[in-house]
Each structure stands twice: as structure tokens, then as C-alpha cells.
């Protein structure tokens, strides 16, 4: 079965990002397909590579990157939400005249159309948020 995952909450806030991660991981392990993980609103903060949590804590963005690499996942940040919150890939940083980018490996910036498309392509769209 094909799943789309929508995450509307930032990391280390309540539990949405953790729940979404464990759900996605369990779905993939069960042999299901995840067509896209879409990060929206504060959820885009999951895609920073500059997060430095304590060593005995989970690293949420690294964990997403690793899962993305293992299963060739599409990890998409909403462009408008990302720009507002200072989540920039190299192209966006250049365009905005900023001195650096901060996107974690495997994440991409794209538009809301990708959420609609995930809803169309997937058999199930599941929302995690606050």
C-alpha cells in the first residue's frame, strides 16, 4: 500500500515528529511504500542540518536523513514555510543573498503541489501534528 506522510510540527516540540518517524519506519518495514514525507508549517524545522541535540538524545533530523537514504524517500519541505523559518538549501540561500544554507542531507524544498500530489498518489495520507 502507498502512504503519504504529512508532518506539521517541529522537532522536540511535542511528539508528532517522533510518531511520524516511527510510523513511517514501521510502514516501510512492513513492505509498504511511502510516496512522500511532506514537512509543512513548523514541521520544516525537522530538515535542519545544524541541530545539535545532547549526545544521549535522538537526533531527529539525522534520523530522517538516514531513513530517507535507506529507503530512497522523498523528504520535502514546503518552500513558503521553509523561507519564513530560515530553512534554506544552497539555491534558496543564494537567491535570498544569505551567507549559508542549512538543509539536512536528503531533504528537498518544493511547493504545496507536492502535498496535493502525495494525496492523489497515495492510498492513505496520514497527518502528524499539534
Amino acid at each position: 500500500m502507498k502512504f503519504g506522510i504529512l508532518i506539521n510540527e517541529g522537532p522536540y516540540t511535542h511528539q508528532a515528529s517522533d510518531s511520524a518517524y516511527h510510523f513511517t519506519e514501521a510502514a516501510l518495514r512492513a513492505g509498504h511504500q511511502v510516496v512522500r514525507v511532506f514537512f509543512y508549517h513548523d514541521g520544516v524545522n525537522n530538515g535542519t542540518r545544524l541541530s545539535v541535540p545532547p549526545q544521549d538524545d535522538r537526533n531527529i533530523s539525522e534520523r530522517w536523513s538516514a531513513l530517507g537514504q535507506k529507503y530512497d524517500l522523498e523528504l520535502i519541505l514546503c518552500v513558503a514555510a521553509a523561507q519564513r523559518r530560515g530553512l534554506l538549501d544552497e539555491d534558496e540561500a543564494k537567491r535570498a543573498g544569505k551567507d549559508g544554507s542549512n538543509m539536512a542531507p536528503g531533504f528537498q524544498i518544493s511547493g504545496l503541489g507536492q502535498l496535493i500530489d502525495a494525496g492523489i498518489q497515495a492510498d492513505r495520507l496520514i497527518v502528524f501534528g499539534d
Partner: protein, 102 residues
């Protein structure tokens, strides 16, 4: 068409469980995750509503979120089934639509 309702808020904090119970069709399942877990406990202000909900809906609770909150399995209202993440995924495949009551 069947809908799986997912509630992640404590009934002592927000009214999302009440909204869910008011609008969910009879027999559609309800899954409690995150702080939604607090609704499973016996002898609370929400227990009667939960008890009533069980006569209309199958109710599931995510085991790891229950353990994370230190809730004693003996203190869970009878009739609520515990699932792990594999069970969570399975529930989502068994129902056509997923409604998260955020």
C-alpha cells in the same frame, strides 16, 4: 467507506476526543496516541465518556506511548486494545480514510 480516527490530545487539555466522539460514525475505530493515551485510564473525569465510546467504537491505544507515560496496564479501561506501531500501520491499511484530530 470506513474512517480510522486518531486522537493525540489529552482529554484533560483539549476537546479533540469529544469532537471526535461527537462526529465519528458508529463502529468506526478510534486510536489513541501521544497524550491521547491519558483517556484510557480508569477513575478519571474522562472515564465515563470513554466507557460510553466503547459501546459504539472499537478503541485502540498505542502501547509505547502508554509505557512512556507510566500508565499501569491494570489501570486501563476494559475493552481498550493495545497496539504497537506495526498494529498502527495495519489499522491504517484496514480503513479507507484517516482522520487525525489535531
Amino acid at each position: 467507506m470506513s474512517v480510522l480516527h486518531i486522537v493525540n490530545k489529552s482529554p484533560f487539555d483539549r476537546n479533540s476526543l469529544d469532537s471526535c466522539l461527537r462526529l465519528a460514525k458508529a463502529d468506526s475505530p478510534i486510536l489513541l496516541i501521544e497524550d491521547g493515551i491519558y483517556a484510557v485510564q480508569k477513575n478519571t473525569a474522562a472515564a465515563e465518556r470513554m466507557q460510553q465510546a466503547l459501546s459504539n467504537h472499537p478503541v485502540y491505544a498505542l502501547r509505547s506511548d502508554l509505557q512512556a507515560r507510566g500508565i499501569n496496564p491494570d489501570n486501563i479501561i476494559d475493552g481498550i486494545s493495545l497496539v504497537d506501531y506495526d498494529g498502527f500501520v495495519e489499522l491504517t491499511t484496514e480503513h479507507d480514510k484517516l482522520q487525525s484530530w489535531l
